[in-house]
Amino acid sequence: MLFESLVLSGVLFAVGVAGVLLRRNAIVMFMCIELMLNAVNLSFVAISRYVGIEGQLFVIFVMTVAAAEAAVGLAIIISIFRHYESVDVRNFRLLRW
């Protein structure tokens, strides 16, 4: 079971990375980040079966942090949307050299 779980986790993570790299929509990129987090969560849970309870414990923390991050991130996206009428990340590139 471990192998299948880790493969699924790797695939999910890769999908998340690809989404962040390729998509321009901030909301979608955000969802892809969540996907990466959850891929990691999956591998934690899978490995915890062999190593110990700590993996599952860690997942709780990751979910908590992810929820907090989602709240902050969505707030930022909403304020950006209010400003630009769009959530395309190409629009906000003010912070550069």
């Binding site: 990375v17 790299l21 990129m29 990340v89 906000f92 590139r93 550069r96 050299w97």
Partner: protein, 687 residues
Amino acid sequence: MVGATLIDLVLPLAQEAVGAHEPGFVPFLPSWMILLPFLGFVLNGALAYLAPERRKLVSVVGPGVLGLAFVIAAVNLVLIARVHDAEPVLRSYWTWIEVGQLRIDAALQLDQLSMIMALVVTCVSFIIHIYSVGYMGEDPGYARYFAYLNLFVFFMLVLVLGASFPLMFIGWEGVGLCSYLLIGFWFRESAKAEAGQKAFIVNRIGDFGFLMAMFAMFAYLGTLDFQGVFEAAPRAFEYGGAAVTLITLFLFLGCTGKSAQIPLYVWLPDAMHGPTPVSALIHAATMVTAGVYLVARAGVLFALAPLSMNVVAVIGGATALFAGTIAVQQFDIKRVVAYSTISQLGYMFLAVGVGAYTAGIFHLGTHAFFKALLFMASGAVIHAMHHALEHAGEPAGEDVTQDMRNMGALKKYMPTTFKTAWVGALALAGVFPLAGFFSKDEIIWSVGARGQTVLWVVAIITAMLTAGYITRWLVMTFHGENRTGEKARGYLHEAAPIMVGALVVLAIGSVVTGWVNIPEALPLLPEFTWLHHFLHPSFAQAEHIIVEHMGEAAHASPVGGGEGMWALISTAAAIVVILFVFNALSGKKYLPAHEAKVPTGIWGLLYHKYYVDELYDLVIVRPFKWICMFSWRVIDQGLIDGVMVNGVGYTTRFGGWVISRFQTGYLGTYVLIIVLGVLIILGAVTL
């Protein structure tokens, strides 16, 4: 100050109470000898800032403190002279430096040598301070002048009374500083300021030698106190060994700087740009003799290094002859006397170089009087010339007022100066029974008795040269026809009474100071060779080493004849030279300076001082300037500023620019970089 006084007053009483010390020499307030000039410096310095117009107060404070110091020095000399072979007294006031093994007290060594030096210094300083009241009376920097002069005497006394090499070095540097300040006293004229710098820079070379000698001494002996060093030296050093030779040669390098010997003498003639009393005090009577004092004080070390002794004697003899020849063809009234000073200092080194320490110190003392007298007579003449030319509305720059070709026949206008100048000149020429006769004769005799035939001949030739150039100086200044010019001639007058008074006192000194050491060969006074006996304890150790290794001095000159005979011959020779030069020159017509031609041939060589300044300029100063230019333009501006400082700046800016290109503002780029970074790290870890 209070503390030092308490130590001076209470210590002898306390020692007496517990019976700690034998009845001997108890110094009388020695710290005040040093503190008084310092007090004068502080007061005059304050006046120079706060109330420079209070000239009367300055005139009282400046010479006054020196008068008191002189009285203390005289009392101490009488006290120490009353005790037969008095032991040196060390008066320690506080611990100055204490680092590891090194411990140096702020202590005074009061023995025969330091007391005689202190007396000469305070006596001549006192007279010159009084003369300065007249000479500098109208100068706007009057208070500043006396502040510097007092400070100089303070440092000079630290130099001669200090009980260790570092303390002596403090005085050594301090007098150098005051010399610099006073040469450049009229610093608004760039030639004078530059002369001060030259003196200071040339002296630094000598000071380097002094420092190296101290380092080496500490490395070998672990102490720098005079008594400690001289006790340990005969055991620690092998006779003629490399270590002691090196130390003494370094010490002598210091002497060549401070006492203007070959090769570092070049600063002294230029130092004549300072006020004339300064030339008399610092550059004739006291500071420049510090080197002779140093060799005499470190006599034990020099006695252990025969090679260094020879170097000292040869350099001294060479300088005496060399500077004596230059003096023959100088036209500046002060420069003749300045080269004469260098020559006479050479005599002193010749004496201490053959181990005749008493003769060296004796000549130091007599020379202080007659050379100060000659300088101050020159000063009176320059003063008169300056006033006369100024009143006549003619240019009165230094080059005009000091050129002897513009003088002549001044005996009519300045009779007392004229007479005292003759006394000084005869004393310098070594005519019996003036001071120079006894001291110079003793030197020539000691050199001959030590078997240094070449140096002995050099000394005799120099003595005749001395008589020659100083007669020329007298004739050009005071005899013959007046060349000052019709208009200015009417304004020539005798110097102020206070200056003339100082001249007369010095003239008396130039006569009688020689009588303190009348040789046994000429039993003129019931007590002969008093100075020799008096100074014996200070030099006994060094003389003992010399006699042990080189034997007793001979009792005949290299070509036979006793001391009395040669004394007669030399004084006769001096008189013959004086008469010859006087007759040859008094009929000669000199042209005023602006009409005269520059001498050529052999006279030109002497007039241009053997082109030594030009040689130094070519060999040392210019290459040094090139090196400085290279260091400045290439190394400093190019390498350090350009490549290193600005280079680092440019590189950082360029690097920053390159890296900033990655900060595009596109989220995608950042993510890509993060992912790539993670992949690289993962790759590195797994591989």
